[in-house]
Subunit: 335 residues, 2 copies
């Protein structure tokens, strides 16, 4: 048996902790025998959850912590002061080499800060981007960066493009992924100062398949596999995606339930519609990786159910087996 | 009878010109006797279209032009070189005072450039923002700016907030409109350099109802009436809105047509669903105004049908009757 991938699971983070988190952990253990799970958080609560399931106990370990970082806490202060929180203890295990990866559904801000301060960046990486997958008509695209690194420079965006490309090729399995820079028009002269400065640099990169500018309108159609942008714009795009999607679905549901005729119609289309919209759900792909760190940190949605937690853990295993960090280092030294 | 509002209609711009454009013009004439329509473009084509309808000929005038600015042309070059295009001739009529407003479904870039170069800014206005209405669960919100003015400064955003507030109050009829700044978190310390610099300035403004930061996720729900942002981010938000909406609707249509059972279901829900999604259509509100000019320039969608053209023209009448530019001047002198 090859070496196990040691994944730290933050059992106290997220809206559904610890129930869905521990459940997802067990699901991952049962789905892959290449994983060792390090469950961090309140021991009593974790044991109570674990006792509900059957799994390989030899591949689990509980690390007891007494503090929890709440969603609304200022991230830097929380990471600095709550030394015995599941997040701080868990991330330090990655830093020290006691674990390969860390998965949390907790505060995004704290995950971003902890990733940088506790786990630390790979040498040569200027900024670690948070890179969620967004659903498209063709599958998924990687949106890089959606993190806290606003006001980025062009050199950051070039690194994002390379790391995103490596990730999509090796984790999602897209051969020679198409990389686009998010812009407000397809023409090369369009854009703000940052895009205009970054465009020629990406054009020069020999190790990515740069297809030029992409417009936000075309991203849902799946125009490219890696969407490069700075964090503020990426965050706006991601959240608009979520907001428009949920409003439209709410309106459609309302229409379906408005009278007897539509209710009968709804019964006839329900199954097919659900199946169709399922493809528009990123849960199956796991969480968003924070790339370019000494290890891997994965942020799953705060509202994650076990399925998303499970896929996030399995994603850590692929990340290690594919030696993503080795490949990132290799590409960065090509500069 | 009060003075007529003289609206120049670019009959050559847009995917459906001249047919839908002229049709929309006639609809506006028949909807309001306060409008005089100045139809600019190829005289023969315009006359051929007009001959299909009944309307008050005393309130129309045709201005013959020989050139057309195409969608794909570089805007600055097109505006400078095509002196006898419908767009250049039409905008100059606003500048000279021969008309009050200009409506076009043509190239957005050319409309933006022409607005600034030919019509010109109001004294004291640093940048004229393009401000489309976006559909929300509560009605519409004004997204200001979506224009070509990328890399804005905080002073620009403050002017956008004031102009947007005046527009929503007087044109859309929202009393004391809620103004939010688009941000990546609700907390005051969040944001990029531009947002952090603009936030306190907006907080100080006594003449707007500033509610603080708004997240892109909450905009579709209608969290505020005026969304202040710089053009690059605004453009990304607007186009993500369009892209996600059209992908979801495409997927739903596909599901409805997938088999006999769903087709029967679709028949039962069709009318209600259509009615529900109609509220998610901005056509009834007219086009996007380019604010802060010596006159009014309205950009309607390139794919506009007559209904949108008609509403854009009626919007020009309200703009004049409400003396929006007078109100903008008044507020700007309060600085």
């Amino acid at each position: 048996m090859s070496e196990l991938t040691r994944v730290v699971l933050d059992c106290m983070g997220g809206d559904n902790a610890p129930f869905e988190i521990v459940k997802g952990g067990v699901e991952a253990l049962n789905a892959s025998d290449e994983i060792k799970l390090l469950l961090v958080g309140d021991k009593e609560q974790i044991e109570a959850e674990l006792s509900k399931y059957t799994y390989d106990k030899n591949r689990t370990e509980i690390v007891h912590t007494t503090e929890v970082i709440e969603m609304a806490e200022p991230p830097v202060k929380a990471i600095r002061s709550k030394k015995d929180s599941s997040m701080v203890v868990g991330m330090k295990m990655v830093k020290s080499g006691d674990a390969d990866a860390f998965v949390s559904a907790g505060s995004t801000g704290a995950v971003l800060v902890g990733g940088q301060l506790l786990v630390g960046r790979l040498k040569g990486i200027e900024r670690p981007p948070l890179a969620p997958l967004i659903p498209t008509d063709k599958g998924v695209s990687l949106l890089i960066d959606c993190g806290a690194n606003v006001d980025a420079r062009s050199s950051h965006l070039v690194q994002f493009a390379k790391m995103g490309s490596i990730y999509m090729e090796n984790i999602v399995g897209i051969k020679n992924p198409k990389v686009g820079i998010l812009n407000i028009g397809a023409e090369e002269e369009k854009g703000n100062a940052l895009v205009k400065e970054t465009f020629p640099l990406l054009k020069e990169c020999k190790d990515i398949n740069f297809i030029g500018s992409v417009e936000a309108r075309d991203i849902p159609a799946g125009v490219c596999d890696v969407v490069v942008t700075e964090a503020f714009v990426g965050n706006v795009l991601l959240k608009t995606y979520e907001g428009v999607g949920s409003l439209l679905l709410k309106k459609i549901k309302g229409a379906l339930l408005s009278n007897l005729k539509t209710k009968i119609g709804a019964l006839l289309i329900k199954g097919t519609l659900k199946e169709t919209l399922k493809g528009f759900d990123v849960k199956d792909y796991g969480g968003a990786p924070l790339l370019g760190l000494n290890g891997l940190v994965v942020k799953t949605h705060g509202s994650s159910k076990s399925v998303e937690v499970c896929h996030s853990i399995l994603q850590c295993n692929t990340f290690k087996k594919q030696d993503i960090n080795g490949k990132i280092k290799e590409h960065m030294s090509l500069e």
